[in-house]
Symmetry: C2
Subunit: 295 residues, 2 copies
């Protein structure tokens, strides 16, 4: 698939999806697009992408289909529904779900696709809106190795660090491991900065001073200043992080793997959502400590 | 104190203290040393340091005294005991405690020192044995600004990032904030890698893949590989981390500041210690997850 003479379907044109689809167009791929809210496709259509009224139409027109949607229930419907991708994909098509979704669902899709002679990959990403915009995403891929090799050039257009993690679902598992690490680091950052503020330190000075050492993290470096500035605009939505942590928590529970820090983060984020923070960025977790600190 | 024509006392010649004292000698400062176990001073004595039989003798001979010991109870005895530094320090001496210790104790020492016309600083460090060895420590300083300026050249010999955080105790508070952030990040790393292993991923590959993104941290980068290799040798002793977390937890509790992730980490580390892990490095927390995963 080095040649650009192939058509790529792209379903899900949110903040991430729009950037990723845009890079594919810029690299010369012909695009067929669908999104639940059509106007988010406007800019891509103006640049030459072909609008399709349903996922089934996207599937019928495309050699490769990429999905980047919200929740596992959306993924399930788009792939396995009667008018879905698996039932309507071209023979030899590769279907790539880049949503952070259920590993078990990724396995079911792979089996259903294989039964019809299609290949599917799970390929969730890390790096956020910035990584999508700058094409520096890390892409964690599960599924058939030959299919992975075929579509590698497309991944290379969207990301920088492209890792084949294993069989179907393993990309999702790797992404959930990533989210588990974030859950711990983020709580640590919130608590460290809440402590610093409460003790009367210049929390911004402390954040800068400790970022270079053993307490350093992407979360401290990038979200710490936002917390202290009261900037809770998303980046990465709290509601999506809750979805990811619920997936990880469920899978871990099924394996009798006790992850108490993840569990704590999930409870705390549910509290944040209950207080109206679901649409804020994940750094808004700091509000729980900040409010408590004011009492 | 730009001149090297001054004598520096150094009390506490563990892994960190020996490196730091060595840098001061290499920079030309004359050293008076004391350590509970004398043979740890042998190398410094061979290089010309003067052995003193008690902290009081160190104090009587030194313009600046630095302490780097284990626990707040040691600090309290060395500073405030009858034969301690405050009672025996030279007029105009600066006493610097670089142990991670109690902010409240640092304040008491500062008051006691001031009452006798001596200055004290709390100046705990981050960067670990590596930072001490390579003189790249971050030094978080609380106490009188004039005293800080006077001894800044000594700090500059031992560290790279030297921050005056405020009045007496504020260096300790900043260090505890650092430890709180570590507690969160470290739990996240343990849980992410335990999850990856349990799900059958190549955990080393996942560690490398996600280190560059939003899950990235010093803990993941540096301790992740040790966890996966089963290398639990200290670096930073679990027992010392427990001490630090107990300090932070007590201070936060006194301020009605709820830090549940810190609390969880403290409970988990106590469990590790109860199972014989007190003398291991902090990365040994991974054992709790690893053992659970094997059940």
């Amino acid at each position: 698939m080095e040649s650009k003479n192939i058509s790529v379907g792209f379903i899900g044109l949110g903040v991430m999806g729009r950037s990723m689809a845009g890079h594919l167009m810029a690299a010369g791929y012909r695009l067929n697009v669908f999104n639940r809210t059509k106007n988010k496709a406007d800019e891509l259509i103006q640049r030459g992408a072909v609008w399709c009224d349903t996922p089934a139409v996207v599937a019928a027109r495309s050699d490769v289909v990429i999905t980047m949607v919200g929740y596992p229930r959306d993924v399930e419907e788009i792939y396995l529904g009667e008018k879905g991708l698996v039932a309507n994909a071209r023979r030899d098509a590769v279907l790539i779900d880049m949503t952070t979704s259920s590993p078990e669902l990724a396995q079911r899709i792979a089996i259903a696709a294989a039964a019809r002679g299609r290949a599917s990959l799970d390929a969730p990403v890390t790096g956020g809106d910035k990584g999508a915009r700058e094409a520096t995403l890390t892409i964690l891929v599960g599924g058939d190795a030959a299919a992975f090799e075929r579509v590698h050039p497309l991944f290379a257009v969207m990301g920088r660090n492209i890792v084949h993690c294993g069989t179907a679902g393993m990309g999702q598992h790797a992404k959930l491991a990533n989210q588990i690490a974030i859950a711990g680091a983020l709580q640590g950052v919130c608590e460290a900065l809440a402590y610093a503020q409460r003790m009367g330190l210049d929390a911004r000075q402390v954040q800068a001073a400790i970022s270079g050492g053993a307490a350093g993290s992407w979360q401290l470096q990038n979200l710490g200043p936002k917390m202290l500035a009261g900037d809770f605009a998303p980046g990465f939505f709290a509601k999506h992080f809750i979805k990811d942590m619920e997936l990880a928590s469920r899978v871990a529970g099924e394996q009798n793997l006790n992850l108490p820090s993840l569990q704590l983060a999930l409870e705390r984020f549910r509290q944040l959502a209950a207080e109206g923070g679901a649409e804020l960025g994940t750094q808004a977790l700091f509000q729980l400590y900040h409010d408590a600190a004011k009492k």
